[in-house]
């Protein structure tokens, strides 16, 4: 089994998609090739890579309730390529949005299904994740707590105490990811066996009203740091032409 996992976020680093790709990778057997789709320059290389694969996993962000434009552009080329070369491929998708509800990814999944039908390849389903940005930011906490764990040991606390502390903190972070991990395991098994997985939705494990408060604080802090808050942060000007 040869699987190509494509990170289709336009971001250069620290994209949320790269985090979910990393998690999914843990549960996929056989040969795995990691790829990136950021712009047109990647198309030719990607088509060549895909032509030798059994499965593709797209990891991508949700943009305005749908597929980002640079990904749509690639899908059109891939459709043509699949039909010209009669490729037989299994397609899986992991999409994530900033909003908390996982089912906001529904349209995106349907678009991929429609794409597969037109291309004559196999739609195998995917995972739609809500609150992706937050889970991505929390991955930093894994390292922070590990740092604290090391400090605890250096400063003389018992290994047992330090380990209990680490397990507790990591457990809390893992809890927020539990839905994602659950489906990652299921989809990993499906990919390895070349089976259909179906479409599932999950989210950061947090009630939405709390999530909104956290998201607001997050954007206020970033906007102070980047300066936007002092440049008409919530104001709309009335200029009306391009």
């Amino acid at each position: 089994m040869k699987t190509v996992m494509i990170n289709a976020s336009p971001k250069k680093k620290m994209s949320v998609s790269s985090y979910f790709l990393f998690l999914q990778r843990l549960f996929v057997g056989g040969k795995v090739i990691k790829e990136k789709l950021r712009n047109k320059g990647d198309h030719k290389r990607l088509l060549e890579t895909v032509s030798e694969a059994d499965s593709i996993v797209f990891c991508l962000p949700l943009y305005v309730d749908g597929v980002p434009s640079h990904v749509l552009m690639f899908l059109k080329e891939l459709e043509q390529y699949c039909r010209e070369n009669s490729l037989d491929l299994n397609v899986y998708v992991i999409s994530n949005g900033g909003f908390i509800e996982g089912n906001q990814n529904r349209v995106l999944m349907q678009v991929f299904e429609n794409f597969c039908n037109r291309s004559g390849i196999n739609w195998c389903g995917g995972i739609g994740i809500g609150g992706g940005v937050m889970l991505n930011v929390m991955r930093i906490m894994f390292f922070i707590y590990f740092g604290i764990f090391l400090l605890n040991i250096i400063s003389g606390s018992s290994l047992q105490d330090a380990l209990i502390y680490l397990a507790k903190q990591w457990g809390i972070i893992l809890f927020f990811n539990i839905g994602v991990l659950f489906y990652n395991i299921g989809m990993g098994t499906a990919i390895s066996r070349g089976r259909r997985f179906g479409v599932k939705f999950t989210r950061a494990m947090m009630p939405s009203f709390l999530f909104i408060i956290v998201a607001d604080i997050f954007f206020i802090l970033i906007s102070i740091f980047k300066g936007g808050i002092f440049r008409g942060w919530l104001k709309g000007s009335s200029k009306k032409s391009l």
């Binding site: 305005v64 434009s69 349907q110 429609n114 794409f115 998201a215 709309g236 000007s237 009306k240 391009l242």
Partner: protein, 162 residues
């Protein structure tokens, strides 16, 4: 204000210009969104990419009626039209709220009247259903009170539809 976005090519500009206050020809001569949120957190309403879509959110955001004319692409917009929507998220603010019982961002320019989408090109039943759902969702996301989806097999009848 009535705004039309279309991917029919320049030859349609003259016809469509009469039908709206602001016309955007989606010719694809612009870059896709890079996902940095700079249009919220760094330079509100402005993209760091210096092309024709730099301040697109002001036009889309100030539209009372937005008409999108697009080729069907798997039940979604053509890449050139979708690019314009992706580059327009500055019409929201970074703060969140509930709309239609789901989380969304608050609106920088307030509510709009009507989002209508006219899709053309060959389409399957499944794609039609996807498109309809997406247009409804986009309307909520961008703060349009009403939405309409129309598919046309003959774009020459465009004048009647408008």
């Amino acid at each position: 204000m009535r705004v039309i976005v279309h991917d029919l090519g320049e030859q349609y500009n003259a016809l469509l210009k009469n039908k709206c206050d602001e016309l955007i020809c989606a010719d694809g001569k612009y870059a896709p969104c890079q996902g940095c949120f700079g249009c919220w957190t760094k330079t509100p309403e402005k993209c760091f990419i210096k092309d024709m879509l730099r301040e697109a959110c002001r036009v889309i955001g100030n539209a009372d009626e937005l008409i999108l004319i697009t080729q069907n692409c798997y039940g979604a917009y053509s890449p050139a039209v979708k690019n314009i929507l992706d580059r327009s998220i500055g019409l929201s603010t970074p703060l969140s709220t509930y709309r239609a019982k789901q989380m969304h961002h608050t609106l920088r320019y307030g509510k709009h009247e009507l989002l209508s989408v006219i899709a053309y090109g060959d389409i399957t039943e499944a794609e039609k259903a996807t498109f309809e759902l997406m247009v409804q969702r986009n309307a909520v996301n961008f703060g349009f009170i009403k939405s309409k989806f129309h598919w046309s097999d003959d774009i020459e009848k465009l004048e009647e539809i408008l």
